[in-house]
């Protein structure tokens, strides 16, 4: 995902300064956890491109605690650019999980490690699932007439993440079982021929 677009979207919603934007970003799209190191360069770059501008201190009547921080607000160009981005087609995001790359290129000898990695990955998914759980609105709540679109969109951000986690958990469970079977088969084939450094395996 593009941190730049997320930051621009936030600034359009309402003006903010670096630290405040990071916090707001975490609330709004909690799954993504962009780091400070990504938000500040995004602000710099957006400003350089004229999408946002620093607010004039005199015009904002900023309280003293905020003296010295730079507030950003969206320019008309920024709004237009963002609207164009929202409406532009989106590519299918590529599979980026290195675990599957490892699985594809692993040798049978690597599989015991990958089985353990699969467990770790599944635990991590479960943990994230637990974080997502308990929060958010139910489908029924979202169907109410008085719900603002923003709340619905926000809820779906969470729901799609949950759905993706579910698919990952199922896939990881299946590959784990497949790897265990491959290990057993491998051990049996070693057992039939004398294997110097491994224990004599007997099923």
């Amino acid at each position: 995902m593009s941190v730049k677009h997320a930051v621009l979207g936030l600034v359009i919603e309402r003006p903010g300064y670096g630290y405040e934007l990071i916090q707001r970003l975490e609330q709004r799209i909690e799954g993504w956890r962009p780091s400070e190191t990504a938000v500040y360069p995004a602000l710099r770059s957006l400003r350089g491109e004229g999408m946002i501008r620093a607010r004039e201190a005199s015009a904002t009547r900023v309280v003293s605690a905020h003296r010295g921080v730079v507030w950003y607000e969206a320019t008309e160009m920024g709004r237009e650019e963002f609207r164009a981005w929202v409406r532009a087609p989106t590519d299918l995001a590529p599979q980026r999980d290195p675990f599957w790359l490892k699985v594809a290129f692993a040798s049978v000898e690597d599989l015991p490690w990958l089985v353990e990695l699969a467990r770790e990955l599944e635990r991590a998914c479960l943990e994230r699932m637990a974080e997502l759980g308990g929060q958010g609105s139910s489908v029924e709540d979202l169907r109410r007439d008085d719900v603002a679109w923003r709340e619905i969109g926000q809820a779906w951000l969470r729901r799609t993440e949950a759905a993706q986690l579910a698919v990952r958990i199922e896939a990881v469970q299946q590959i784990r079982a497949a790897m265990k079977r491959a290990i057993q088969r491998h051990e049996r084939s070693l057992g039939s021929a004398p294997a110097p450094s491994s224990e004599p395996s007997r099923q």
Binding site: V115, M129, A130, S138, L165, R176, K180, I183, Q184
Partner: protein
């Protein structure tokens, strides 16, 4: 305080000479006020795990403790019953199809209290799950979602300390699933009851306090970060089945 503790439980089913490992060294602890969801695909052994947690089925190895007492192999099993403080939400129809739902739900109480009192509590249980109006309905008149809710009423009518729910969301639509899980969550929160629910789909687990997964005999759970860590998971070092 721990209400239910499964410690290093193993269980196999046998198909002729072929051993199917259903549970392989599974440990789990559950407290009152917790809704814990166990996700597993079809035939992953979820129901076996629940039956063992209920004391209905004995594990091949390991122990099951409920409220500090060994659950399996004790007096209860010889009597062939389920512990009075454990509620079971299964998927079975009432044994007589023409029964009023009020009588169906009241049935578990009849050995303990008067018929009048049983009826009073059954009415309360039906209202609690939001289907008070179904008291005089028959099973064959109910939708799948209503059947699930009545079954939950049946499970909570004795106000159990532990409620075990076996794939209660299966066959329901998305909204109905949320209603059911929301209900289980509120039962866990309010009584407070320990609720262990198996779910056929991961998103159903979202209302729970913890999500565990069962596959290939292994029960996995996220590292617990809340205060009062209770689970020590045996670390596995290798990929042995």
């Amino acid at each position: 305080m721990t209400l239910l503790a499964l410690e290093r439980v193993s269980k196999s089913h046998w198909r002729g000479r072929h051993e199917i490992v259903v549970l392989d060294d599974v440990s789990l602890e559950l407290e009152r006020g917790e809704l814990v969801a166990i996700f597993g695909q079809r035939a992953a052994g979820k129901t076996t795990l629940l039956r063992i947690a209920a004391g209905i089925e004995a594990p091949d190895a390991g122990s099951v403790r409920f409220d500090g007492q060994e659950l399996v192999g004790g007096r209860l099993r010889r009597l062939g019953g389920i512990h009075p403080r454990i509620g079971w939400v299964g998927r079975q129809a009432p044994f007589a199809s023409g029964m009023r739902m009020l009588d169906h739900v009241a049935l578990p109480l009849l050995k303990e209290v008067s018929a009048q009192e049983a009826e009073r509590r059954a009415t309360r249980a039906l209202k609690r799950v939001g289907v008070g109006e179904l008291a005089n309905a028959r099973w064959y008149e109910l939708s799948d979602a209503e059947r699930t809710l009545v079954t939950i009423a049946h499970g909570i009518v004795r106000e159990p300390a532990l409620l075990l729910a076996d794939d209660s969301t299966s066959g329901l639509g998305v909204e109905e699933r949320e209603t059911v899980l929301g209900l289980l969550r509120s039962i866990a929160d309010e009584q407070p009851t320990a609720v262990l629910a198996t779910v056929p789909e991961i998103p159903d687990a979202l209302r729970s306090h913890r999500v565990l997964s069962l596959s290939d005999g292994e029960l996995l759970q996220a590292a617990r970060r809340a205060p009062g860590e209770v689970i020590a998971f045996p670390q596995r070092r290798d990929g042995r089945a």
